[in-house]
Amino acid sequence: MRFRQLLASVALGVATLATTGAKAVEIEYWQYVFDTRVKAMNQLIAKFQEANPDIKVKQTTFPYADYQTKVAAAILAGQGPDVVQLYYGWLDNFIGGKMIRPLRAEAFPAADIERDFFPIVSAMKRGNDYYGLPTAVRSLALFYNKKAFKDAGLDPNNPPKTLDELVAAAEKTTKRDGGGNIVSAGITLDMGGQDQHWWREVLVRQFGGAPYTDGDSKVAYNDEAGLKALTFYTDLQKKQKVGQVGFMDEGQAAFRAGLAAMTIDGTFRLGSFNSIKAFEWGVTELPANAQGVRSTFASYFANAITTKAEGEKLAAAEKFLAYVSSPEAMKIWLEVVGELPARRASALTPENVANPIYGPFLKGLEYAHTTPFKDELAQRQIAIDMVNRVLINGEDPKTSLAKAAEAEQAILDRAKR
């Protein structure tokens, strides 16, 4: 009791100080630690405060590993951020825990959002309400080593456009030692990296299936299409022997070291690959199937307003969210972080589309899919295990696929409760 009175009087004191002083409202913004993201956000905050001298924004960051736990614990304890960054796949968790509030339609009209942003933003919509907006989005594309292509007699300016061409290029660029061991892979196979998305959202669709149905509540890949997709993937190691799971530990490490000719990865890897000095690399859209069907996986971190923000803090939080989702903010984010703008008009400028690096990622955004994750790590584990059962235990792909579908369905069912 006495503690509460003390707290109340301190709060009152702070409030009077604030009103008599600079009249500044202070709101807190939380995101995870990633050097360039923190730097970009600092720039955005400085610009925002310049335009809104009555609002102060305090940025707090945490290591990614603890991020979700800390945010949940803090908000539930009535502390923590007013504006928070969250992965689109965590949305149900955050809504279920009453941690974030729907965006007010007057401040953020749904029609405007749907007109201006890429369609994947719909992953932030529940019912008629949007719960957050991204500044930037990430998509997948195929990175290829131009030097390895040239050495293998391939045209370094004509990367594979179809799955067949991909396999052919991988076969040509793979190098083996006398014992038949791969010493330089044609393509990286790393289900723990981005390959899980390539399989789930791209290959399954290209072989004629869909990963989920019934409003994303049913696993649908346990069919002919899913089997073909899994067999295509595991055959890269088993039949064509152009890659090997675990080669150089991680796919991105193999590519960086120049020991893999191709790898599938996202925009977030650009920063790391930009420092490669030993060879020149290029980016191209993920290969289409024989019928020309393309797909890619896109994901994003969105910013949302927490239930903690009330009154004038809520108004300030809305202003801040509007600013960090503005075209100006997206431009800064692209320059500093290298992530693609979430607004069509900001992204699809002639300059960006013609950019040899950003272009392929941007083209992908028009046909990209986002996976409705309920428990991202557990669902990733299922994909990893599905491939391992085939590659390590020699299990029949059909049996392995059925087991994976069953395990993932259990996760989706549990999340519904």
């Binding site: 979700q68 736990t69 949940a72 614990a73 539930l76 968790n93 955050f94 279920g96 825990g97 941690m99 030692d177 014992g179 061991n181 791969i182 010493v183 790393d190 723990g192 990296g193 090997q244 799971v245 675990g246 080669f247 150089m248 530990d249 991680e250 020991l259 428990d375 790590l377 557990a378 584990q381 990893i384 295990d385 391992n388 059962r389 390590i392 235990n393």
Partner: protein, 308 residues
């Protein structure tokens, strides 16, 4: 002195009526209360809280509601739990005897070495001081396939086929265990050395005068007198292997406990259930089971190895 002073100051008070001995007891408990209270709040209270959580469906974001023994039922019907249970005991059954045997042999011979004794001892102790995470990463690279894996490079140069190590469901667990054993070795060697030094030299002199062989001395004198040391190390290292986590997690961060859960110990399963799936109630049930296992094993070991 102060007692009489107090008696004069407050005649007939409660404090004045108790004896000096009782006062000392009160003072002692007064000072002991601070660490005790700390221990109760930091250790025991969360432990009891875990028992309570294990019968709820708390998920961090949703409020907890009572579900009875549902979590335990789910746990015992989960094939992953039984696999993890087997793995945990494999770490114990392989790890404890192997590490104790090696460390005893090292300590036994190191005890007789005079030349650079402290230096060699320091070398053995060094891995114990190294961060498990850093060590696991180095070993992770040792186990890689060619062209970067040291072990496979050596095998390949002798014409021996590559071994999958961490990419195999049968080799992965011993491969993860090896650095864990190696890391704990230094500590066990030091404890064994202390135990060996504590045995009076006169026993050995008497035995040698009586013409006992070295083997007999080892069996009849050294080992029986080392029993307290051995009991301590067995219990200590058993608990360590039952709680193995950082080596497993770090040697395979992309697929922790993999491949196909073949190296996943119970503690890692608890961690994943709690901090990546956020099923706190279910994780608490797993914690209670781990607590029971540790309790039973420690009690059994203490009983078996007690002095009769």
């Amino acid at each position: 002195m102060s007692a009489t002073a107090q008696q004069e100051a407050a005649p007939g008070g409660l404090w004045s009526r108790i004896s000096l001995g009782q006062k000392q007891v009160i003072w002692a408990w007064g000072f002991l209360a601070a660490p005790l209270l700390f221990y109760v709040i930091i250790r025991f209270w969360p432990t009891f809280q875990a028992f309570y959580l294990s019968v709820t469906d708390w998920t961090l974001t949703k409020p907890a509601s009572f579900v009875g023994f549902e979590n335990y039922q789910r746990l015992f019907n989960d094939p992953l739990f039984w696999q993890v249970f087997r793995n945990t005991f494999m770490y114990l059954i392989l790890g404890t005897p192997i590490s104790l045997l090696i460390s005893f042999v090292v300590a036994y011979y190191l005890d007789r070495v005079r030349f650079m004794h402290s230096f060699i001892r320091a070398l053995y102790f060094l891995p114990f001081l190294t961060t498990a995470a850093a060590m696991a990463w180095v070993w992770r690279w040792f186990y890689q396939p060619v062209p970067i894996g040291v072990i496979n490079d050596v095998l390949a140069s002798f014409g021996i086929p590559q071994q999958p190590f961490l990419r195999s469901t049968s080799q992965a667990l011993p491969a993860v265990l090896a650095p864990a054993v190696w890391a704990g070795l230094g500590f066990q060697v030091i404890i064994f050395l202390a135990g060996l030094r504590a045995i009076p030299v006169t026993y050995y002199e008497a035995a040698r005068i009586d013409g006992l062989s070295e083997g007999a001395i080892l069996r009849r004198i050294t080992l029986p007198l080392l029993k307290p040391t051995l009991v301590f190390l067995v219990v200590f290292s058993s608990i360590g292997f039952l709680r193995i986590f950082d080596q497993v997690y770090n040697i395979n961060t992309n697929d922790p406990g993999g491949p196909l859960n073949s190296t996943k110990p119970l503690v890692l399963m608890i961690y994943q259930t709690a901090f990546s799936s956020y099923e706190m109630g279910y994780a608490a049930a797993q914690t209670v089971v781990l607590f029971m296992i540790l309790l039973v094993i420690s009690l059994v070991q203490l009983r078996l190895m007690r002095d009769r």
